[in-house]
Symmetry: C2
Subunit: 137 residues, 2 copies
Amino acid sequence: MEAFRRTCVEKGLAVTHQRQAIYRALISMPEHPAPESVYEVVRSEIPTISLGTVYKNIKTFLNAGLLRAVTLHHESLRLDANVEHHYHLVCTRCKSITDLPADDLEPIQFRRTPPRGFRVQNYSLEVHGLCAACAAS
Amino acid sequence: MEAFRRTCVEKGLAVTHQRQAIYRALISMPEHPAPESVYEVVRSEIPTISLGTVYKNIKTFLNAGLLRAVTLHHESLRLDANVEHHYHLVCTRCKSITDLPADDLEPIQFRRTPPRGFRVQNYSLEVHGLCAACAAS
DNA sequence: CTATTATAGGATAATTATTATCGACTGTCC
DNA sequence: GGACAGTCGATAATAATTATCCTATAATAG
């Protein structure tokens, strides 16, 4: 929480009551919540907060690196007609996706059994970075 | 394309003009398009097709396993306040997400340099399967 | 080959998630 | 303590997706 305040100051962000409540809610929620759920939690502390404020600050926190999105592609469904096992190269700048053959990487190996009785079916891996075009600029 | 027709018959899906055009568009698009882009391409072949039909059939294809979505979480932004490097266990049934410490897996190793001048920044890995609760039922 | 029927398509409205706008308010800095 | 920029809350607007409903067409039996 102290680190949060420090980062806000560094980035020139006002440390408001609402921002602190939103951030506190986020770190208390390990279930990777959607903005709507964060709103529910924050509202129990600040009943007058608006959903727009929650969205705005989540976006602010994402830009400040205080927070991460689980996927880079939540804005729209992206499709893959190649149902063979393979991975993806994703450009963090232009969001383009290209295929990466599975055997370009060493196979994924668990060091211990997955926790909490999770029954593994398969896995997906995205390599993030800059595509050639974006790296050039 | 023959395999497509066979799968349709197996799953009791009518092999319509529109479905074939949509599927043909999909396999011709390696850029992992959004439904809107697929619609644009199909429309050049069937100008009267409706966007709703494209959406409906994409969903049908996903259910039939003819197609895959790049991410399981496109319907809404999912947040992660833990900015340390770690992975995710994702339940394919209830879509719940739990953290998996990075050192539960052997480190990811490239066998060859990534293609197309891609400059790697980091990577994200999701292990898909059934959580304990969903596996029980 | 034609009739029948279930399924699918097209047009459109509705819903959901997210973003923008704008006047009022409040941290921050002097 | 007051000025100013940045933030908030309310609300409207937009974007993505889904549902509805009536018509058209693919599958299939005869």
